[in-house]
């Protein structure tokens, strides 16, 4: 029998603590759309996307009403375009990005991910064309997200791609300079990218996935924070137990929505991604969780340990709640999307180097960090290489989403709007690494990669 207390608890989590289903992402394979002719290819992918996702937004809205839990985003991820468009006879993939954008607008989703390439071991002709199309593609489209996987624990790091991406990020920033270089907010560079990730900008529909699939991302930093307030001052065992229990409850909600969405859409359910992803709202911040844990600001000594505790226990709670947990599950630490992190940067508590250390234990990496517009492409490549190395050596996913804001310098603010938030520009170590990056080639995989 459902009790009044339980009903109140659930509704309090939704109303006061910002519990939400962050995203329902429909993954769609575009493998069968391959064609040599650009206009035929575009027509095929447009038709397939709009047909498969026809009812996605409406179903999300219905579920939102029925269960009374907000479902913030409805999104689509597609097969990495560099693969689906491999046989295409064209020099530029920008028209493909425009088609994706049009399809996303038609079905009403706010982002479509998959303008992507997987080049951890090397680039095909198609991969190279795709990567070179990114700056223009992100400038002329609104909802398209792009990602490039440059390394993995099994194959090492493709340093040619790392070098190229430094340049691509700069070009993307310049192409969208009039809008605070927002193009870069839709571009992620990965190491060990997962193929079932429902979170943008890094989402794409993996090549090992089925035809069409529903993945759900749940989030509730506010819920975790409030739960921890109840056990303030208690020992670490209690702290961990509390996070675990809360993550369990949050994930169960995602599981329900995912199963129901999959049933109504007639599309198989893929995974639940149980991430604590912040929003710019007060009370929905990872940095605030650190403060409740006992740190003055995010970035204070102890922050890496606090993040490790948070990440591990979120996973432990979530794994019990759903059999298919995947994606990037864990705690996200984007700067611009978390008002507590923004405050920590402004107060000088949080630096890029501390963030890098924290990425060893978080679920992604250097995320949504605004840097000075005059940062060189080699420096950006150097940061990507560092972050990819952390992922490669530690068998984890890492990512870089840096925004060199053209025309702005350290301390100035940038506003991206909506869930992307706002951020102060952080200083970057500007000592030269050009000779290192210019070497090119590939960093071999670490010794422990050799398992078979």
């Amino acid at each position: 029998m459902i009790s009044l207390v339980e009903v109140q608890e659930t509704n309090k989590m939704i109303r006061e603590m910002n519990l939400d289903v962050r995203t329902i992402t429909m993954g769609i394979s575009l493998m069968d759309c391959a064609h040599t002719d650009l206009s035929v290819f575009n027509q095929k992918i447009y038709d397939k996307i709009t047909k498969s996702a026809e009812k996605l937004v409406k179903t999300g809205e219905d579920l939102e009403k029925q269960f009374g839990v907000p479902i913030v985003n409805k999104r689509i991820s597609v097969t990495p375009i560099s693969i689906a468009a491999g046989s295409l006879n064209t020099d530029s993939y920008v028209p493909v990005a425009e088609t994706l954008d049009k399809a996303a607008k038609e079905v009403g989703v706010n982002f479509i991910g998959g303008f992507s390439a997987l080049v951890q071991k090397g680039c095909t002709t198609g991969d190279r064309k795709l990567i070179e199309s990114i700056p223009e593609a992100l400038a002329v489209t609104e909802r398209v997200c792009s990602s490039v996987n440059v390394g993995s624990s099994r194959s090492g790091i493709n340093m040619d791609a790392v070098k190229l991406m430094g340049d691509i990020i700069r070009q993307t920033a310049e192409r969208t300079a009039d809008r605070d270089s927002i193009g870069c907010a839709k571009l992620v560079v990965f190491c060990n990218a997962v193929e079932d990730n429902p979170f943008m900008a890094g989402a794409f529909h993996g090549v090992g996935e089925r035809e069409c699939v529903i993945n759900v991302g749940v989030s509730g930093p506010g819920v975790v924070k409030r739960a921890l307030e109840e056990v303030k001052g208690r020992d670490f065992e209690t702290l961990c137990e509390t996070i675990k229990r809360t993550a369990f409850k949050v994930t169960r909600v995602g599981q329900l929505v995912a199963q129901e969405a999959s049933k109504r859409l007639g599309v198989p359910f893929g995974i639940i991604d149980l991430s604590l992803a912040p929003t710019p709202l007060i009370g929905d911040s990872i940095a605030e969780i650190f403060q409740v844990m006992g740190l003055e600001e995010a970035g204070a000594p102890g922050t890496t340990a606090a993040l490790a505790i948070l990440n591990d226990n979120v996973k432990k709670g979530g794994v019990m709640a759903s059999s298919y947990v995947g994606g990037l599950s864990g705690a996200f630490i984007p700067v611009s999307e978390d008002h507590g992190m923004i405050q920590a940067v402004q107060r000088g508590a949080l630096t890029l180097e501390k963030l890098e250390a924290m990425t060893c234990v978080c679920s992604v990496g250097l995320d949504m960090i605004a840097i000075p517009g005059d940062t060189s492409k080699e420096t950006i490549s150097g940061i990507i290489a560092d972050e990819a190395a952390i992922g490669m050596v530690n068998n984890k996913t890492t990512a870089v989403r840096l925004i060199p804001v053209i025309g702005k310098g350290v301390g100035e603010m940038v506003e991206f709007g909506g869930l992307l938030g706002y951020a102060p520009i952080m200083p970057v170590n500007s000592f030269n690494c050009a000779d290192f990056i210019d070497r090119g080639g590939r960093i071999p995989a670490p010794i422990h990669s050799f398992k078979n």
Binding site: I2, L4, E6, V7, Q8, K65, Q66, R252, Q255, L256
Partner: protein, 89 residues
């Protein structure tokens, strides 16, 4: 299919009457009611059967919300599964 209705707000005459009348007119059967009043605040939970309802759940949710706005309380109707799944293994 069962739904859970929660009503929260400052206590006044006729809240239950208004909600019950609405439900009766839409052929929604009330299975259980529990209610508390804490310092003038009215707090009610109803378990209802919506499988025979004359309207879709989405419409019921919206209309109940409007009734709540009219009388100055918050009325929510949610599918019972969200509570079951969160609190029962």
């Amino acid at each position: 299919m069962k739904g859970i209705i929660t009503v929260l707000g400052k206590d006044k005459v006729g809240i239950i009457a208004k909600v019950c009348t609405y439900l009766a007119e839409r052929n929604v059967n009330i299975l259980d009611i529990s209610q508390t009043i804490v310092q003038d605040y009215f707090n009610m939970m109803m378990i209802v059967d919506i499988s025979q309802a004359a309207k879709s759940t989405e419409v019921l949710v919206e209309e109940l919300q409007h009734i709540g706005e009219e009388i100055g309380v918050e009325i929510k109707l949610q599918h019972e599964d969200i509570f079951n799944i969160m609190h029962r293994i």
